[in-house]
Symmetry: C2
Subunit: 333 residues, 2 copies
Amino acid sequence: MNEFEFIARIRAQAESRGSRSDLVRGIGDDAAVLKQFAGRETVITTDLLVEGVDFNRDTSPPRLLGHKALAVSLSDIAAMGARPRWALCSIGVPPQLWDSSFLDEFYEGLFSLADRYDVKLIGGDVSRAAEKFVVDSIVLGECENQPPVFRSGAKVGDRLFVTGALGAASAGLRLLERGARINKATKDHEWPSIEALLLRQLAPEPRVGWGLVLGQEHLTTAMIDLSDGLSSDLHHLCKESGVGAVVRSASLPVDPLVTELCGRRALDPLMLALHGGEDFELLFTVAPENAKRLPRKVDGIGITEIGEITSKGIRVSEGARVWKLKPEGWKHF
Amino acid sequence: MNEFEFIARIRAQAESRGSRSDLVRGIGDDAAVLKQFAGRETVITTDLLVEGVDFNRDTSPPRLLGHKALAVSLSDIAAMGARPRWALCSIGVPPQLWDSSFLDEFYEGLFSLADRYDVKLIGGDVSRAAEKFVVDSIVLGECENQPPVFRSGAKVGDRLFVTGALGAASAGLRLLERGARINKATKDHEWPSIEALLLRQLAPEPRVGWGLVLGQEHLTTAMIDLSDGLSSDLHHLCKESGVGAVVRSASLPVDPLVTELCGRRALDPLMLALHGGEDFELLFTVAPENAKRLPRKVDGIGITEIGEITSKGIRVSEGARVWKLKPEGWKHF
């Protein structure tokens, strides 16, 4: 049983208990959606980060970790086309961190990102932990005057888009694994590029602005954020929508830094773009007639059309070749 | 810095960022409160339980752990006088538990309690964890047609009440520490009493019914749930209300099982009732003129008047003696 099968089982158990008129969407999307009253819905998401699995303390400065803990949940809210409003943060703290500057720096990073989007920290919990720091970040958002964007609305013929660039976060992770550290600048001429890739891994930027524009303008039929990796997340979107997709590999916006640095390191930029997780870009579908209405940039971030929705099968077209895209992104289990 | 000082600091940082008209209460109560629209407010709480600190896997069967993870958050919602509606549950799972029956049993316990109160599981997250299971339980509730009950509304002269009985959960913890196990019945004639105490520790019952009655009938001026222990939680309530309190020790509803079993084990029932945590009873204050309007029982659980609110100082009157009650309940740090 992998984690997606596990989640499907819990979801089935939850749904077998019947629905309620004020639950718009439960388990199975980027966030749950509650109907508060007509025209205004609340979305809520929770993301657990465990030291040694989702991050390492020796590679992630506490300030960036505080940023990332909130960023991953903001990204889920963005993927619903909603505006993030409130955050809660539960932490399990090993004793040796309690009396250090760790928590101050962690919350500096968290508050700094929260301030940027006018998100207010309204609660949390503190527990001790044996050795590993753990943080659960909860964010609530609101949809005003427009419905949330689900994973389930993609239609055959819709165009497939992605914000920003792909592969940088996983390239950054590979660099960390090979010993690069954000606080240890090298004199190498490559350092600025290396640092940028490390930051994409350690302090991802949630696409809050794009999420809002796409939600408010009714421009997208389905959306998901890229946390596990394009291949896996596209599978999630297609499964919920009951459709397939074809991705044109030549169109994928591979981050130029990935292309620049990967060659010498025997890393395949295309594989990083397809399967590397944690880019926290938005993957979304748009009806053909609406594609022209999309803004070119939001907050300085562009979008790229990378393929389209088909009736079934998830494939990559690479020149004349067409091959099946397996979900080979990140899995905890 | 203890954890309450830490939380006060984070709260100050959060509050220094200004309030918003739709935030009724942020950090500093049992749950945060958001105004959705007039006459209907949403309350939200999060509780993190870490293996080896908040529970032990060798003493807590997974089914009871699932129950408890949800129960502690339901208790917070009850302490706001609100109706619990929605739950999310994030788990960090050590690999050796993934392919066992642990999670099935954990969710059985969680769903069973959720069903009892018509609470719906609408989301969560799954991560891997190195060795220790960790669970963060988030519950949202609603106040309909009545304001939530804060910790901050107690007035001098208010009567102080507590639901149910005290000391059983911490007596159960002491028994666990001395080797008693819920799945290992002994032939001892004391076993039924021991088992009952263990269950109060391992599977506490949140006072959801009492919370609703007290909230809906506008009967209480302030309320908190007893998670850290009466002495500490009374301090929290008094601090938020800017008042003091006197507790009559002779009036404390020490659980009869505690009295029965503690003598032979050199445990002091009064100390367990005052400082022992995790009873998850409700501690609340009532204006003198409203005391008669209180129901005697809700869901079979009674209440006891244990003292009253004073202008300052938190004291215990024990016969002719009056002594200062220090907050000596549970602290993670």
